[in-house]
């Protein structure tokens, strides 16, 4: 009886996930006339730097998310239960707003005559920098937008909750008795964290890394808005093949396929680190 309940999703998956992937595979291996070819993949070689930049920026964003998110999740898990719900809400709050809107907001903050630069001008920091550093041409603003840093910032801002939540979820489920057992066996709080809490939270860390890295590596909205044209990522490249002037769905499919393979590979490597309690971590793939 219960088995039939899964059928609607099965049908959904077939139509909207399996079929599109097969379509992507088909396009990737054919040319415009429909003949089999590997040409799409060889022509991709000229985009290696975009692949490199995408993975680098996504990696940087993931690292920053982890460094910010883990302590946050840890501190949150230590609070009294009703405060935990409140903090949880604070973290979820930005996600209630439209993704595009949030990113545009950052644009107006980082722009050359945006909030930060105006503020710096008003308090005289820009003038101070000009007098101190004496650049050849005096600057009027700090170049914040259209940089790799702005893209990473946008990624961190948008994807941080996806790092915090899985780690927090794992941390609150760790049996308090295990912490007491570690103390009982002679572990001061630092050792309790290193030898018990952190290893046991690895499934959450792995899940968090996955949930930040995957959308970060394939994003195109953030790089388009905060990176300008300068910081093109794989997502933009694919976008360009389907919606832009470079219209070439065959090449776009091939890029998408390669990216999928690379992400899959990354996840495979990630899961290797999670040898301790492999059952949970393995679920991610």
């Amino acid at each position: 009886m219960k088995k039939y309940m899964a059928y609607p999703y099965g049908v959904w998956m077939l139509i909207f996930i399996i079929a599109p992937i097969l379509l992507v595979v088909y396009y990737a291996f054919t040319d415009k006339s429909g003949a089999l070819t590997l040409g799409n993949f060889t022509s991709m070689l000229s985009y290696t730097s975009i692949f490199g930049r995408s993975f680098l920026l996504a990696f940087a964003a993931t690292v920053v998310c982890l460094l910010l998110g883990y302590p946050l999740a840890y501190i949150m898990s230590k609070q009294p239960p009703r405060w935990q719900n409140f903090y949880m809400m604070l973290i979820m709050l930005p996600m209630w707003m439209n993704f595009l809107l949030r990113t545009y907001a950052w644009m107006s903050i980082l722009e050359n005559n945006g909030f930060i630069n105006q503020f710096l001008q008003n308090i005289g920091v820009i003038r101070l920098l000009n007098t101190l550093l004496r650049p050849e041409a005096p600057i009027e603003y700090l170049p914040l937008i259209n940089t790799g840093g702005a893209v990473v910032l946008g990624m961190v801002y948008n994807f941080l909750p996806f790092m915090v939540l899985p780690i927090y979820n794992v941390l609150i489920k760790i049996d308090k008795k295990l912490i007491e057992a570690a103390q009982d066996l002679g572990a001061p709080s630092g050792a309790v964290f290193r030898k018990v809490i952190f290893p046991l939270s690895m499934p959450g860390v792995i899940a968090g890394i996955t949930m930040v890295f995957v959308p970060a590596v394939s994003t195109f909205v953030i790089s388009k808005t905060l990176g300008g044209g300068k910081e093109m990522l794989i997502g933009d490249l694919i976008d360009l093949q389907f919606m832009g002037n470079a219209y070439n769905p065959q090449l776009g499919s091939a890029i998408a396929l390669v990216m999928m393979a690379l992400v899959f590979l990354c996840m495979l490597i990630m899961n290797r680190f999670d040898d301790g309690s492999g059952e949970e971590g393995g679920l991610l793939l």
């Binding site: 008795k177 103390q183 009982d184 066996l185 002679g186 572990a187 001061p188």
Partner: protein, 350 residues
């Protein structure tokens, strides 16, 4: 036992959110002693254990270890180790690494750690289990790992919090004897928490009966069973018939509308008391040969004996006997004076 006092609790009180869980616990535990804290759930026995382990601090009162105040010493600095109720084994480590956990923190050499781990595994009968995942072990095996993990630290005191609670009866009996053996061979002081009176009587040198955060009685298993100080202890340690009675004068007590000779004195005259009679101390006779007559209401076969409920005019007695009497039969109930236990009424006794 002429051994010096190792741990001393002095007027320990503990409050959780305004609720008093421990109301002045004072207790001294000698070196190499096997002490059991026994009582129903919520009596404060686990809290007492956690205070000794350092996981809770008392609201007032002192914990002394060889005369030194232990209150503010964190758990990781105490020469005390704990076997936790649900074992609390580290799921990310294998059996050997669980046992080696504390040794590694002591920064012992790898060689020494391996030797100690192997010795411990042999002691608890888990040789060859080194590389097994703890999650793949049965309850009994996990229990042994937990014991090995605590014992390998060579603590002065081992705290055990209902360690056998999750095991089946047969395994529990085996482990009781094994624990007792380990305790005797290692000479470590054991403080054991349980709600199982049989377990307490089987293993302990000293039993501490607790209820409502108060120590009811401290004594050897024989003392506790034979000379319970109040109706609560009598009822908790084995089954008992507890009746309201009046001590008429020394060596004469009145209950169920009759007067009985007994051996207790010093209660004064016409004092209300609890009268406790063990089910196995009641002899069934012909109706005419006893002061009390009753009708057999029910009979249950318990293995070694039959358990009968016998209704008399004022009270329904529980009687254990190896001979069965048919339901509905009228019998006489007789008790020798020595087996009528007289106790002061206490509020704590229910």
């Amino acid at each position: 036992m002429e051994k010096k006092c190792l741990i001393e609790l002095k007027c320990i009180e503990k409050e959780f959110d305004g609720e008093q869980v421990l109301k002045g616990i004072s207790l001294s535990i000698r070196n190499r002693e096997f002490v059991t804290l026994l009582g129903p759930s919520g009596c404060g026995k686990t809290t007492t254990l956690r205070i000794i382990g350092g996981f809770e601090s008392p609201t007032s009162g002192d914990v002394l270890f060889e005369g030194r105040r232990l209150n503010d010493i964190p758990p990781y600095k105490r020469e005390i180790n704990t076997v936790f109720q649900r074992y609390a084994l580290f799921p990310h480590l294998d059996v050997a690494e669980n046992i080696a956990f504390g040794l590694r923190l002591r920064k012992l050499g790898e060689q020494e750690i391996q030797t100690k781990v192997r010795t411990m595994l042999e002691l608890v009968g888990l040789r060859g289990f080194e590389r097994r995942k703890v999650t793949s072990l049965s309850g009994g095996q996990q229990q042994r790992v937990a014991i090995a993990r605590a014992l390998v630290m060579q603590p002065r005191v081992l705290l055990l919090d209902e360690p056998l609670g999750a095991l089946d009866l047969k395994l529990r009996k085996d482990m009781q004897l094994e624990l007792k053996k380990i305790q005797q061979s290692t000479g470590i002081t054991f403080i054991y928490v349980t709600h199982d009176q049989e377990e307490a009587l089987t293993m302990s040198d000293t039993v501490v009966v607790m209820n409502h955060g108060i120590i009811q009685q401290i004594g050897s298993p024989t003392d506790i069973y034979n000379e319970p100080v109040n109706a609560f202890v009598a009822d908790f340690i084995g089954e008992s018939n507890i009746l309201d009675g009046v001590m008429v004068r020394d060596e004469l007590v009145r209950f169920c509308g009759r007067s009985f000779e007994c051996v207790d004195k010093g209660f004064g005259e016409q004092t209300p008391v609890d009268v406790v009679i063990r089910p196995e101390d009641i002899k069934l006779t012909f109706p005419g040969d006893a002061l009390l007559q009753g009708v057999v209401e029910s009979i249950v076969f318990k293995g070694v004996h039959y358990e009968m409920m016998i209704r008399t005019e004022h009270f329904t007695f529980m009687v254990h006997s190896t001979l069965a009497e048919p339901v509905g039969k009228t019998v006489g109930l007789s008790v020798v004076p020595f087996h009528i236990h007289i106790m002061h009424k206490t509020e704590a006794a229910q």
